[in-house]
């Protein structure tokens, strides 16, 4: 399986060198919900327990429900939205992930924390929610990394939280 991981990440690295990388992603047919989600499953269980009174209304605050594992400057405060990049910034095709419980419908959603890249740090609304966050040897759960792999530049601008699916 190491080889598989290696091949995958190599492929990303190679595509990253081309501007057409983003268009490739539309063709990716990865059935995410069918994949076993460990260790995220396990992590999320704890995350739920710790997640205190998230809000449903204000996506410019750190306790907005989708932001349970966000780490960085909120794009909502930078001209973007909770899942939109500010003008001129590029959504990263790669991200770290978390699981947040919606306080109204009670469901757990897989949330993709995608950085907007290609501009210097927005500098507004810094959040450092660490629920389910893991060290660097588990990079997919490490929010301290610059998650701009595959974007035109590795310069970090702000962070978004995008619902991928219900769990």
């Amino acid at each position: 399986m190491d080889k598989f991981f290696e091949n995958l990440t190599r492929a990303v690295a190679q595509r990253s060198s081309r501007r057409s990388f983003l268009s490739y992603l539309g063709k990716m047919m990865l059935g995410a919900s069918m994949l076993p989600l460990l260790p995220i499953d396990r992590v999320a269980a704890t995350a739920r327990a710790e997640n205190k009174k998230p809000n449903l209304d204000d996506d410019t605050t750190c306790d907005y429900w989708k932001y349970c594992a966000v780490d960085g400057f909120l794009c909502s405060c930078c001209g973007g939205g909770s899942h939109d990049c500010p003008p001129g910034a590029t959504p990263s095709p790669t991200s770290w992930v978390g699981t947040c419980r919606h306080p109204a419908d009670g469901r757990d959603y897989i949330v993709s924390y995608r950085d907007c890249c290609g501009k210097t740090s927005c500098g507004r609304c810094l959040c450092a929610n660490t629920i389910s966050e893991m060290p660097l040897y588990r990079p997919q759960l490490d929010s301290d990394l610059i998650w701009c792999f595959g974007a035109p530049t590795m310069v970090y601008h702000c962070s978004t939280a995008e619902i991928v699916s219900v769990k």
Binding site: F5, M29, A32, I40, C78, G88, A89, D105
Partner: protein, 381 residues
């Protein structure tokens, strides 16, 4: 499943975009988000541009585009070392005038005009200029765009003073014009610019259609820098430049002709105003339509010209009389007036990283935009 497989599967997940067609909802639930990059509408009169110098480093400047009516951040532009900002008169393009070193603090210096689409904020092109632009804590008039949007002018200092001319239509550097003893660029017309000279005079340079100097005229001193220097950041509205001096004199210069023409000077200080002085960074703002001038004031002695202002004093430009004194919640370093019919006063509180807004008409506090880094300059579309 072993650890490596789990690791691989989660990496896969990390690479997934929200593709609603692929992830069909099994039951009623929130749909996947569709990530987009936002774009901007046409600039409104109450938009405001705030330049964050990025202190203490100043290696990466940032321009905040803010809707002053709603006090929301609309977007940002990135820049380089002590960059300056300009916008095309037709609002289609924005410009950052940048200095970069190949290794941030060492290596080769490159000065460029970076051109951005004003709707998408996407970087469009760069025009390299001589690596001579004035490097200073950001000042508005170190660059200017001519009224017709054709030329962008960049003030240089090596310490010899000159002006680089960029043809924005052709997107190329077209030449350098010496301006000995005179600095900065005020460009109220299409084919001319004015610079401020050490003796209190104004140098007017007339350009030909290729951006070369056709004529230079240095007007007689308009004020005496030894007695009462004017701040070097006038409010420039249309063809008029509104200067205020360290001691509160107002000098209005019409820059439309081949030589600047001064209106009679007057003072912002009346009886009982003793001890008050203009001060800060951008100390004066004007709205020509409404005929009003705003000056940032504080109480202080000689050489307190950079003290933060506690009040904004509003004046009727024609009557040369004070309309009101507006107490600021937070002392400000720079002010600006929007150019609409109901102007807003924008006041940058540098240390608090914020911009406060007040109604120019009655001084009412309207609100604040915070977390703006080290905001030095404020301007409008």
């Amino acid at each position: 499943m072993n650890q490596a497989a789990r690791y691989a599967s989660t990496i896969l997940l990390a690479l997934i975009l929200a593709l609603p067609t692929l992830i069909a909802p099994a039951r009623a639930q929130l749909p996947p988000d569709q990530m987009i990059t936002k774009t901007l509408p046409e600039p409104a009169p109450n938009w405001v541009f705030v330049l964050d110098a990025g202190f203490p480093t100043t290696a990466v400047a940032k321009l905040d585009i803010i809707d002053g009516s709603t006090r929301t951040m609309l977007g940002q532009l990135s820049g380089g070392y002590l960059s300056n900002f300009d916008i095309a008169p037709d609002h289609r393009e924005m410009y950052m005038i940048d200095t970069y070193y190949s290794r941030a603090w060492r290596g080769t210096r490159t000065d460029v005009v970076s051109i951005f689409d004003a709707k998408t904020l996407n970087f469009q092109a760069e025009v390299e200029i001589p690596p001579k632009r004035i490097l200073i804590v950001p000042k508005r008039d170190t660059t200017a765009v001519t009224a017709d949007g054709r030329f962008l002018l960049v003030a240089n200092m090596t310490p010899a003073t000159s002006v680089s001319v960029v043809d924005l239509k052709a997107r190329k550097f077209v030449g350098e014009i010496d301006t000995p003893g005179c600095v900065q660029v005020l460009a109220p017309g299409n084919r001319q610019f004015s610079s401020m000279c050490a003796d209190g005079g104004i140098l007017t340079v007339t350009l030909d259609d290729n951006g070369a100097a056709k004529d230079k005229k240095q007007g007689k001193p308009y004020f005496d820098p030894n007695k009462d220097p004017v701040f070097d950041q006038p409010a420039v509205i249309g063809t008029k430049a509104y200067f205020v001096s360290y001691h509160g004199a107002i000098h209005v210069l019409d820059l439309s002709g081949a030589e600047a023409v001064a209106a009679p000077e007057w003072s912002v200080l009346g009886a009982g105003d003793s001890g008050w002085r203009p001060g800060g960074w951008q100390t004066i703002a004007a709205n020509e339509k409404k005929g009003i001038i705003a000056v940032l004031m504080h109480k202080g002695g000689e050489w307190t010209h950079k003290q933060l202002g506690d009040e904004v004093w509003m004046f009727d430009a024609a009557k040369k009389s004070r309309l009101s004194r507006i107490k600021l919640k937070t002392p400000a370093y720079s002010i600006h007036l929007s150019q609409g019919d109901d102007p807003i006063i924008y006041a940058l509180a540098l240390k608090e990283s914020q911009m406060e807004e007040y109604a120019a008409s009655d001084g009412k506090y309207l609100g604040v935009v915070n977390q703006l880094g080290t905001p030095f300059l404020v301007s409008g579309p």
